[in-house]
Symmetry: C2
Subunit: 255 residues, 2 copies
């Protein structure tokens, strides 16, 4: 298998890995089948302990070991360019162990950083926007990873109030009846309504664009704008970074 | 990795492998991420010579060797239940070599047969339908694989006239300007119009349901019916067969 195969560490959740593969294909300029980039997706959800549960209770099973094993298997299969489409797994207590383990075992491989790529992608997806709102899981929210990444890009993070995070965003994702992680085909109207209210809150707080900082959110929010704001999809950001690394000449213009 | 991991031999085309992974996820009953079945997708399109080109010119590169290598790598990674979402690759001159090579190298693995599974799925997707129409590539059409599989299920194949196959179906898939293999995001109106005329032709010939016998067709034809006929999607048929083999208790009811 060739040196530019993209490896996707999937399963967190299953939709996210598949959606990244889909975005890689959609953002590739290829005349026919054989012009597309090579990729491998490992979606082994049962092996990976819940990321959010671990971040809130360090006594809970640590997902980093399983993630590192899956990444290693992908590298051994020829994938030197890796992406992990799970924002929550980029929290420091998880990512630090994965990244250092991978650097030690496979210095030849490169794991792209979903959050940094998303912050960098704002300039392309929402040109001119300086104040960037965030929709994410509680684990991502509490970690502060997007504040750091946006600030590093010279952008101003607009983070929801705790009440909005808990009552609108968290519920839209995790509600036992209507949450996206419960029902995604199709996503429920309740979930979309809560997200729409959350984005209105971010806009009132000054946001000029909104990051979809959870890989399940594009199941609910399709298109380039939502509730009046341009959307910056983290999975699309990662897809474009991976294509740029594996086959830069094949990266399609953003339209 | 566990014994029930599903392996997808993808890349033929890239959308088809991703769509199979998507259908597996959509047809799985799972309360959360970790309840989903494990799967691996190998999408290495540049390695696999064009299937249709080989079927029409046996001097052209034979794709079966590359397909067998990819299947072997998946088995070595722990995938004992395999699917190949490409109808054309199920033509005898290609499949025979893949299947016998795999049986020799890895008797522990099982490659599910897309065409047979689709014929069997008609009873579930279009209950009561006896005369089943076919939309497929020229390679699949000429091979006669669906006639054989449908007849084996006691169903009557309704195959398009040569003119309809060439001027409507082949063009909808392969036209250099508007064909689905050229433009799929979104599919062009011209392609959908040609397919709609082809299905009307099949209905006039007595078809009570129509098989989407090319894995790119669901990009154009979504939903359970098209141009007045119930749709039997070959990728969905394969997805359900793979779930049934890997984790039967997780197969969602068809709705």
């Amino acid at each position: 298998m060739n040196r530019t195969t993209i490896g996707i560490i999937g399963g967190m959740g299953p939709h996210a890995g598949i959606y990244l593969a889909d975005r890689i294909t959609a953002h590739t300029n290829a005349a026919g089948d054989s012009g597309h980039v090579s990729l491998q997706l490992a979606s082994l959800p049962a092996l990976i302990p819940d990321r959010t549960a671990f971040l809130f209770d360090r006594g809970a099973p640590d997902p980093s070991g399983a993630i590192l094993e899956i990444a290693s298997e992908l590298v051994k299969s020829g994938c030197l360019v890796l992406g992990m489409p799970c924002n929550t797994a980029h929290a420091e207590p998880i990512l630090a162990k994965v990244a250092s383990g991978l650097a030690q075992r496979h210095p030849e491989a490169r794991l792209f950083h979903l959050i940094d790529e998303t912050a960098a992608f704002c300039a392309e997806a929402a040109p001119g926007a300086r104040r960037i709102g965030l929709l994410a899981t509680l684990g991502t929210y509490r970690d502060g990873m997007y504040e750091r990444a946006l600030t590093a890009q010279g952008l101003q993070p607009i983070i929801p109030d705790e009440a909005v995070q808990q009552n609108l965003i968290h519920r839209a994702l995790y509600d036992a009846d209507f949450g996206i992680k419960r029902q995604s085909s199709p996503v429920t109207e309740e979930a979309i309504e809560l997200l729409s209210l959350a984005v209105e809150h971010l806009r009132e707080a000054g946001a000029e664009a909104v990051i979809l900082g959870c890989t399940e959110l594009p199941l609910a929010i399709k298109g380039r704008t939502f509730a009046g704001l341009p959307v910056v999809d983290s999975t699309t950001a990662l897809a474009r970074a991976l294509i740029r690394a594996a086959a830069p000449e094949k990266l399609a213009p953003l339209n």
